[in-house]
Each structure stands twice: as C-alpha cells, then as structure tokens.
C-alpha cells in the first residue's frame, strides 16, 4: 500500500463524504486490510534538538542532560545501531534567555533561506540555520538524518503535542501512537500544520522525518519539574520506539486523531498603535483543543465587552494565548479534527534496503 494511496484515502475520511466517495475511490476498500506492513528504511541517525527558542527551557536542560550522559562511556555503545545526535540549536539565544537574537530560528529552514545568497551582515539565526542544515541535513538530501525531534514549550495549555508538517509521515504518526499507549494519563495530540502548498520552514523539516514535541503550559524562562519530566519521558519513549523499529518490530496499523490547522485569529488591535485592545476571554483561556462554536466568547476587551467567534464552522482552538505569538499576530489557532488511518509498518531488512535503494524517494 503506497503512501500516496493512503493519503488520498485519508483525505476522504470525513464521515459525511465517506459514503459519497467510497464508490469512487481509485482502489478497492478491501486493500485497506493490509496484511503486509509498509516497509520503511531504518532510522540509523536520530537528532534531538533543544533550545531552538532560547527561553523554552525544558529542551535546553534536557539536551544538556543528554549530552552529559553521552559523554560517559557506555557498555552499550558498540551494540547501539542508532546514533543519537543531541544539539543545542540556538546557543546565543539560550545564553541570553531570549526566544531569538535577530530572527526566529524556527522560521529559517526553507530551502530558499538555507541556500540563498548571504548578505553583508546576515542575522545570526540564518547563519546558525545553515550550520544546522550542514550538521543534520542537507534538507532534502540523501545524507540528512533520519529523524529530527525538536523540543519546544508553549505558554498555552496544550499538554504534549506532536507538531508535524505532514499528515502522512507514518514514522511520526506511529511514534505518537506509541507514546499515547506508554503515557496514557498525559493529554496528547497530533497537530498537522502543513495543509497549504507552502514548504515547511522549521528545523524538524531538515531530517527525512521530523516533528516538534511541544509541551505546555510553561512560562518562557522557567523550567517546571513536571513539564521537564513529561518531556524526558516523551523523548525516552521515542528513542525506545526507534530501537524497537530498527530491530524489526512490526507496529500495527490503526487510527490516529489529527488536528489540522485551518486558520489563525489575531487579537483586536488599535488602528494607530497596533496595541492589542482585548485579551483572550476567560471562558476560552486554557481550553486548548476544546471545540469553539459560532458565537462562543473569544475575547474580552479592556472595557469589559465580550467579542464572539464569528466563524460559521465549529473548530478546535489551540495555541491559545501563546506569549511569543503576539508579535506574529496570533491569539489562537483553529483546527479541524480528522481521524487518519495509518498502516502497519516495519523497518526494511538490510537485504531489502540493498535491493530497493532509496525507497523513500519512490514513496514520495
């Protein structure tokens, strides 16, 4: 079962459309009962990145601790088929305790920015993005790391989120499913950002597979022990999954609920000063991934008036009141929820890898 076919299938997986379109699908539905797991190349190189935003501290400290562990000689080193790169993405921003020094590093990874001309005094983050691309990429090339996990925090009450550009990267979706099973008490969601035609601009797009692990709520500049513990557990389970995958385990297919970004909503602003004139309404604050219905309270102006959601479609709100998004003109994001079908997967054996060459290109 190719990725393309399943993607088409998943795009029809709106319950209302399902009965309408099932007759016109390009392949019989029975082919969805896949006995054969999809075979994907092993993940021999994995990168865990923290401090992409210098004031999102869980990742900063987790990467520091992982680096400490890696410096210790281990008996398992020779047997470890997966190499783990641990990277502090934006050391200057970390040192200053800021999100970034010149420009947001996690917007610098389009091919145009990475390969574009160098101006006389380029922003620090663009230079750093090119260094990271050389270290972990190059993006789109055969030598790129197999998986990038980029660690982030948010001030929004989002629990643990996977944020991915693709909704058909079975590796990321399976890791998510695995984490859900291993950490059943943790509110966990898969957010899909890439529904437009545009290319991903974030660090996790440098690897062949990649996602951001975003955990909140945590104020920027603060490390909370509970949030750190979640991120540590999440990363450890992810690495466990990678080892299991590489050693040939078959991961059963199933369903994953995915939140796909539809649009962002900005704060009401003063025409002259551009300052915000309202705050997220107290009924919406902290209610990430609850359904926002038409006429539900959205903002509360400073003079006490309630502004309501004027859209016609109920959507799921997330990134509600993220501190670093005021300057990006985002008070909250809105998503549709879809149930995706993911196939069973396993790693290619060495023989299969040699026989097929770079299968990932074919499946794209």
């Amino acid at each position: 079962m190719s990725q393309v076919r399943l993607s088409i299938f998943n795009s029809f997986l709106n319950p209302k459309l399902f009965t309408l379109f099932s007759a016109s699908l390009p392949f019989p539905l029975s082919q969805m009962d896949v006995d054969e797991p999809v075979c994907l190349p092993r993940l021999s190189r994995v990168a865990v990145c923290g401090g992409t935003h210098g004031n999102e501290l869980s990742g900063v400290y987790l990467v520091r601790e992982l680096l400490k562990l890696q410096r210790r000689p281990s008996e398992d080193d020779d047997e470890e088929p997966t190499s783990l790169l641990t990277v502090l993405s934006n050391p200057r921003a970390v040192q200053q305790g800021r999100r970034y020094t010149d420009t947001d590093l996690n917007r610098c990874f389009t091919l145009a920015t990475l390969n574009g001309p160098t101006s006389d005094s380029p922003p620090y983050e663009i230079l750093r993005a090119r260094e990271l691309n050389a270290m972990l990429g190059p993006k789109g090339g055969p030598g790129a790391v197999d998986l990038v996990c980029d660690l982030h925090n948010t001030t929004a009450n989002m629990g643990l989120c996977f944020i991915a550009y693709s909704d058909c990267d079975w590796i990321c979706l399976h890791i998510f499913k695995y984490l859900q099973r291993q950490m059943p008490d943790v509110p966990m969601r898969f957010v899909h950002l890439g529904s437009s035609e545009k290319e991903s601009y974030s660090l996790d797009s440098v690897g062949k597979h990649g996602f951001a692990m975003e955990i909140g709520p945590q104020p920027h500049g603060v490390v909370r022990s509970d949030i750190y513990g979640l991120m540590n557990a999440g990363v450890q389970h992810m690495l466990d999954w990678v080892r299991l995958f590489n050693s040939g385990a078959v991961f059963e297919g199933g369903f994953v609920d995915v939140f796909t970004l539809v649009k962002n909503i900005d704060y009401p602003r003063d025409e002259k000063t551009h300052n915000i004139t309202a705050a997220v309404h107290s009924h919406l604050q902290d209610r990430d991934f609850c359904l926002l219905r038409p006429h539900d309270p959205l903002f509360q102006t400073f003079s006490g008036e309630t502004l309501r959601y004027s859209g016609s479609e109920p959507l799921y709100a997330f990134f509600i009141n993220e501190g670093s998004y005021y300057e990006k003109g985002i008070a909250l994001s809105l998503a549709r929820k879809r149930r995706l079908v993911i196939p069973a997967i396993r790693a290619q054996t060495e023989e299969e890898e040699q026989a097929r060459g770079f299968t990932s290109e074919e499946e794209e």
């Binding site: 300052n275 604050q285 009141n321």
Partner: protein
Amino acid sequence: MGQSEPRSQVSSLLSLTRQQQPRRGVLRKDAAAFKQRGWKLFHCRVSSFVGVHTPPRPSVLPGMSLHGSTARLSEARRVAIFGGTHGNEMSGVALVNLWIKNGADIQRRGADIKPFITNPRAVEKCVRYVDTDLNRAFTHENLSASGGDEFPYEVRRAQEINRMFGPKGSPEAYDVIFDLHNTTSNMGCTLILESSKDHFNLQMMNYIKKAISPASCLVLLNEHPLLKYSTSRSVAKHPVGLEVGPQPQGVLRSNIFEAMRVILKHALDFIELFNEGMEFPPCTVEVFRVSERIDYPRDANGNIIAMVHPNLQDCDWEPLNPGDPMFQTFDGKTIPYQGSCTVYPTFINEAAYYEKQQAFVTTRRETLAASGIRKA
C-alpha cells in the same frame, strides 16, 4: 463553554499520577486554605466580585481605642499608578494604557491620580529591561549621580521618575504610588509593603483584604536589610507594590487583568474615604515577612543542576517544613529543605529571578498592629 475554570490540564492530571507524599503543614491547615482561596481568587474573579461587592463603610464606634490615639496624617492627594516597570509584565501595561486613554474609572474626589508607564522602551520591546532592572535602580547613589548620557537607560529613567514623582525622601514627593507587577509564581494577589511602620499602607491593605473577602490578597513585607531593594515606587511616601500571578511574561490573561483592576479599585476607594475625613480604627494585619533568599543548586560553572521540586512548585504561601522536598535534580533525586523551622515560601520559580540567583524566598508569618488613622 462551562462556568468553572480548569486548572492546567497537565498539572491536574499529573497530580493523579504523582506519588502520595506526606502532606505538608498538617499543623497549619489555614495556610493551605490561603492558597486555595488564592486559586479561587483568579479563577472565579470575573464572576465573583467585579462590580458586585460594595463593602460597608467602616464606622467608628464610640469609645473605641485599641492602641492609643489615632494618628493624624496628611491627605493623600497626589497618587500615581505605575505600569511597565518591567516591560513584559503585561497586566500593568494594559491597565495603565487603558487609563491613560480613558481615566474615568480611576477618578476619585480629593485626589489627583496619574497613570504612568515607567519603562516605555522595555514595554516597546516586551522585555523586562533594556540595560538594567528599573525596579532596582532607585538607589541613593543612582538618583544623586550627575552626568548622564553614558548611564544605563534605566538609571537615567530612574532619575527622570525621581524628578517627576519625588524627590525620594522629600516633602514634595508623591503621597502614594502603586506599582503593578506580574509574576510567573503562583502567588495570587499580593500586596508588597516596604515598612512595618507605614500605618497608612497597613490600613489600606486591611481595607482591601476586607473588601475582597472571601477572596484573598496576602501582604508581603520586605524590610530585610540585605534583601530589600530600591523600587520605582519607593520614590513616594507610601509605596505599594501589587504583584499578581501566575502569568507568563509577555502574556495577558484576562482573569489576572481583572483581579488587578479590582484590587486597585478598592485601593483608590480607600484613598477617597480617607481624604474625605473617614477615621479608620486601629487594626491588625497579617503579613509574611521576607526572611531568606534560596538559590537553585548550581555546579561549579554556575549552571542550575536541579529544579523546584514538584511538591513545592505552585505552593506559594504554604508551609515548608525542615525535611520537606525542595529541589529535584534532573536525574530525579530529591533535595530537602534544611532550615531550622517552618517557613512560608513565595516567589517560587519566578522566571526573572534565575539570573538573580533566587529560586524562592522564605517568609515568616507575623501580625502587625496599625494605629488608627485620620486625615489631619
């Protein structure tokens, strides 16, 4: 969308999975109730008392005199409200900007009330400060230094503010300055007092506490000879700090905004009543007196090697007993509090204090006596 406000999804779920620890402060149940009321304060703020509660005017009973004669104080005519002393503490910035545009809500008979943004450059960039912390810059040395262009921005700004609202320590200084702050700590609403002998402020804080009851507003007293610092509000005769949290830096939460607005409304009501000649009888005020600053454990390079322990995180104002968990190393070991007696920690895990070597401060509970006051 429902009436009640949820706690953080993560922390509320984690509290189900966290191991049962021996309950701290078994002997001090009332302190736990403080914190609970603090949560209720900003989670039920909008519904519980905005525009609803009208406190009864305090009356003077014939013959009442607890602590001697009533102090006669000069009227509190010149009042300022400072916002943006730290440019990323958003509630004060939003409130002051609102009142600069439309000051109707802060008008009071008998007083001139001036809203003012103290650190506009930091507000513009949404950072705590540009060169140096403005709220530490009002030292005698800074205020009397001459020269200038080479000084850090905030030092020059402190001198300007001292000219406008001071001079600090002189009869011309403003009578009252409210300085609005937010904290990432779970402090609820906290009034900050700089002197245990400021009877005007003590009476004001007593009035505010009674006005918002059963919601709570605690009083932090920082009179510590080493830990006290030179705040922007210290320019006034009666400096009042107002700290509301938890709120991340750079974020504006509507419940925190409303809580701050209501506290200020009651504070200004008190000033109006005082200026109209009302007598406030002697009273007592419970305060938490700053005792000690506790830093994070650090390695030889100064890097933090442990975090505030899950049992202490968010437990501002709850008793911390010797032996209670205090920090947790990144690999999971517990470091206990090793003081000699029970203390009440606050400013727990404030983002801005990592660079000031402070994980939290300890306080001791104390009851202060305020003499009766009346306008002279």
